[in-house]
Amino acid sequence: MNTTIKNYLNQTQDSSSLALFRMGFGVLMTLSMIRFISKGWVEKLYLEPSFHFSFYGFEWVKPFGDMTYLLFLVCCVSAFFVAIGYKYRISIIIFFLSFTYIELMDKTTYLNHYYFISILSFLMIFLPANSYYSIDSKIKGYEFEKIPKWCTDCIKMLLFIVYFYSGLAKINSDWLIEAQPLKIWLTSSYDLPIIGSTLMQQNWVHYAMSWGGMFYDLFIAFLLLYSRTRIFAFFLVVFFHLFTAILFPIGMFPYIMIVGSLIFFDQKTHKKMIKIIDFILKFFGFKSKKIKRLKLNSNNNSIVLSIVAVFFIIQLCFPFRYLLYPGELFWNEQGYRFSWRVMLIEKKGITNLKVLNKEDGKSFMVMNEEFLSEFQERQMSFQPDFILEYAHHVGEYYKKNGMNEIEIYADSYVTLNGRLSQRFVDPNVNLMNEKRGFKNKTWILALDDEITGL
């Protein structure tokens, strides 16, 4: 056993694979940040709202006024440095920290692919991605031909987890038996050219895409791993992600996944791609001088290896934490995030808080727009942890304004995957008495229906 591990760790890979990945990742992240800033989202999402929803334990992570732009700038520049491989280690650390800080500032904006970027950039801290074709190596005057094979394998592993787990999450009765929420989403994509009013309205298409999506997610990583199906699989990747890109507002995610899956190709292909990039750069006048080539940049430091091992153990287990909670996952959303549950639920809610002043027995409803942006209100209305945090925030606000003894109740209704809306939060529970945290939220009323599956 020990020797198999040792043998595996001693296997090597051409360093162009990781260099190519580094460049793709860096360029896409740079573009992502530019896109985010230029759309005015920094202002809209982080500066305009007076209140921000926090991840439990990360309440201290907040936007800091106009200087928040600087954070985005730092993140953008560090991504660019990663792309060109300049001061790689410190750049990727800064990127990881700034990007993760941004994502922690307000969980209203939570997206699975942001989480993916965060953990991928964390992993990349431990990879020698500047060994080859980087500014760092030009400065040092030497580059490495080989890196340990596990360095590219762990990226494949992460991609495998993302796909496979999101495939597993699709094995449920709503997705496979009812073809929901795709049925709602596809029929309302009626404005797509040509297929919008034809294919997208066909019942069988909804089922075909639900089942196809599940099989795609479950098996695409295997098809990419196996050399004889790789080309076909890559076409599938491109097709699938471009299709989702025109159907849903999912931003950069499709492009990140397409570029990311290039890592599955063999080292010869990667070498060729680097040559093409080199050729293009030369065309634009960037000449790369020949430098010394050393054999292997071994990275088999036992601390690094154990960090990576622990990282993957966590990644493999964490998505299953929902099993620790009773009740319907899609309804209660306890253990829903950070688990590659993507595009699984169409949920809309309406939630209003009632503040009861115990001193005079009088109560009133809170107007959500006084505390939340429209986007925050929409997200708050169907997610229990948001509702609780909002209730506490409102409670604190009125306490500061002179009401000493108050209770807060929620009037909340939610619809899930086309089901008739039903009451979501127990209207008799004073949310001020409920603590935030990972304990089961007993004040969520049960869904009047059962969704079977994983």
Binding site: K44, P193, G196, Q201, N203, V342, M343, K362
Partner: protein, 375 residues
């Protein structure tokens, strides 16, 4: 992006055709296309424009009787002015929800029905002989609530009010400014429809800015805010520690015993909403393409199992009953038996729930605000 969309769409289509050319098409599983443009045409031609025309003629009548009253303030011209104001206010209930096109651009609904009014500022405006009411702070000094104050509120009885106009011509001057402003705004909105109509009925794509989606959002927003919150919620104290009877719609007419109209106004507002929801031009006319037929279509095609359309129609009837249980004078109702106001509020709230969650979810109205991955 557009060409990219077309290219990808074509390739998807061809893949489906190739992979399915062998399969038989005897299944009856195709969802026929729903004609959203027909909904918009029905709304534009049979509901919005006729209602705006109605409102316009009542505003004309209001302006005429206003001019007559200013010329010779007496009880006859006063009564005429009051009647024309009420007619305009009732007709207004049928158009307030269409905050789209020119109406949105010029903030028609804020300028026409912001209440309670700012009495102090109106008095200042009168004394300063203000003629330009475009400042947002003047929204609460004009429109139908502004007229309510000018016609019923500047003194405590009909005779005293008429005297105010006889003694101080500045009152008449400001009344005229408010009437002209309302008339101009109404002209702007109505006239724009002659050109906007065609843009409107064809703007059906699922984007945040298409007419279909904006109209849908406006409708739900109006029901929640303009109807539920403003007419019942705020006066009955749902959003405050105590009931606020001074915040009822058409406050001064009730307060000074001229005519109790608050209930008539909300009754008409609810009827107006009901007709739009069912696509009817009047209570007698048959139902046409509408939000309800869209919901029916969605149900018929098994995208949803529940009959949201009928649920909403029934709930509107129930809410109407609760409103008819109320005193015609909302000030009295709030001050003497507020619980009935709260019952009416709850009846309206259950409709808001269905519109805001079920209907918007099934329509999947795009709100392209930021990226999302459906969680």
């Amino acid at each position: 992006m557009k060409t990219l969309k077309i290219l990808i769409s074509i390739s998807i289509l061809s893949i489906f055709i190739i992979s399915c050319s062998s399969s038989s098409d005897d299944e009856q599983s195709t969802i026929p296309e729903f004609d959203r443009s027909a909904v918009l045409s029905n709304y534009a031609d049979n509901i919005i424009v006729p209602r705006l025309n109605n409102f316009k003629s009542s505003v004309d009548y209001l302006k005429e009787s206003g001019d007559a009253f200013i010329d010779s303030p007496d009880i006859t011209t006063y009564t005429e002015l009051h009647n024309s104001w009420l007619e305009a206010y009732i007709n207004w209930q049928y158009v307030e929800m269409f905050n789209i096109g020119k109406a949105e651009e010029i903030m028609f609904f804020s300028k026409t029905n912001t209440y309670p009014v700012n009495e102090g500022r109106i008095q200042e405006n009168i004394n300063n002989e203000k003629t330009n009411l475009s400042n947002p702070n003047d929204w609460s000094c004009q429109g139908l609530p502004g007229l309510d104050y000018m016609i019923h509120g500047i003194a405590n009885s009909e005779n005293e009010i008429i005297n105010q106009y006889i003694q101080n011509p500045l009152n008449g001057k400001y009344l005229k400014v408010v009437l002209d402003e309302l008339n101009n705004n109404t002209d702007l909105v109505l006239n724009d429809w002659s050109t906007y109509r065609n843009t409107f009925v064809n703007s059906v794509e699922n984007t945040a800015t298409s007419a279909f989606n904006m109209l849908t959002n406006d409708f739900v927003y109006y029901f929640e805010k303009g109807l539920r919150t403003n007419k019942i919620g705020i006066p009955s104290g749902v959003f405050s520690n105590n009931p606020l009877s001074t915040k009822v719609e058409a406050y001064y007419s009730s307060k000074n015993g001229i005519e109790d109209v608050s209930r008539d106004l909300i009754e008409n507002a609810l009827n107006a909403v009901d007709l739009v929801f069912q696509g009817k031009s009047s209570n007698q006319s048959p139902a046409g393409p509408s939000f309800k037929t869209y919901l029916d279509f969605i149900k018929a095609n098994n995208v949803s199992a529940d009959d949201i359309g009928s649920i909403v129609v029934n709930k509107i009837q129930t809410a109407n009953q609760k409103i008819l249980d109320l005193n015609k004078n909302f000030i009295n109702q709030v001050e003497n038996d507020n619980s009935k106001m709260l019952t009416a509020f709850d009846a309206l709230q259950t409709i808001v729930v269905n519109l805001k969650t079920d209907m918007l979810s099934l329509f999947n109205v795009a709100v392209d605000y930021t990226d999302a991955d459906g969680d």
